[in-house]
């Protein structure tokens, strides 16, 4: 079964992270591409959070410790390579989760969206890894920074680990990016977040805090 709160929060937080690129992406085309990924995830977040309670209350009125998203999705954009590698690791996981639950309405629709997300992330990962010296360096730094948050994805989903691992390994090998040996960190599913989530929520919830119930 898909945990509406955990996966709903993953989608909401990652959607917000991607939306931070809007008007700031390297090219106009990439701006639209990242915004599309963000909107896909926002749609899934709304559907899932509505199962867990009132979507607006859940999005706007909880503090960081009330969120159940994994640590990976709250990690900052930093640069384009971090954004792509984070998306590769997470979309790879969410695709497997959705594919394993065809009976779930959100998953059945979302699996097509996520198939595109992971394809997109894989294409860019290979281009960054095999591009210039700088793009390779940035992709390596991103992978080193984000790999520690991958164990947490499989808490309660151990069966998804093998297919995810085999797909991610294939993409990374194709991109000439070795998997780093780094210690793992968890805690997000228990509400123990990095400080990055607090600043993300300040922006996400700011309007609602200043003008409760504002509409336009």
């Amino acid at each position: 079964m898909i945990d509406a709160l955990e996966i709903g929060d993953d989608c909401l937080v990652l959607s917000q992270r991607l939306a931070e690129w809007v008007t700031r992406a390297p090219t106009l085309e990439e701006d639209v591409a990242l915004a599309n990924l963000s909107l896909d995830l926002l749609g899934q977040a709304r559907a899932l959070l509505s199962r867990a309670g009132d979507e607006d209350d859940l999005a706007y009125l909880r503090g960081a410790s009330g969120f159940r998203n994994c640590l990976l999705v709250e990690q900052p954009n930093t640069d384009f390579a971090h954004t792509i590698v984070r998306h590769l690791l997470y979309a790879g996981f969410l695709f497997e989760l959705y594919a394993a639950h065809p009976e779930d309405e959100v998953a059945a629709k979302g699996v097509k969206e996520l198939a595109y997300h992971r394809d997109y992330a894989a294409l860019w990962t290979s281009r960054l890894g095999r591009g210039t010296e700088e793009s390779h360096r940035r992709a390596t730094e991103a992978l080193t920074a984000l790999w520690p948050f991958t164990d947490e994805l499989f808490e309660g989903h151990q069966d998804l680990r093998a297919p995810w691992q085999s797909w991610v390994t294939e993409v990374l090998e194709g991109a000439a990016l070795p998997v780093p040996a780094v210690a793992q960190r968890t805690g997000g599913r228990r509400g123990q977040h990095t400080a990055h989530l607090t600043s993300l929520l300040t922006e996400l919830q700011g309007l609602h805090r200043d003008h409760a119930g504002a509409t336009w």
Partner: protein, 90 residues
Amino acid sequence: MTLWEVFVRPRRGLSHVHAGSLHAPDAELALRHARDLFTRRQEGVSIWVVPAAEITASSPDEKDPFFAPAADKPYRHPTFYDLPEGVKHL
């Protein structure tokens, strides 16, 4: 970055039609950008991307020699036939 011209086929049975252009580092990414930019509202079932530099276009200066001679040749138009009913997109 390379400039790409995008052609979208709106439905099965129709031809690809020029939809616009975009910048992308290579063909694979150009296809995906085209998907995001030109088919977001279900406008298409197939996309072509072509490097703009690969298109050879007629020049406005050559307009007369290219196109004017067709003007007085009405027998080239299919106006002497009746269209069978039910034939669409002809």
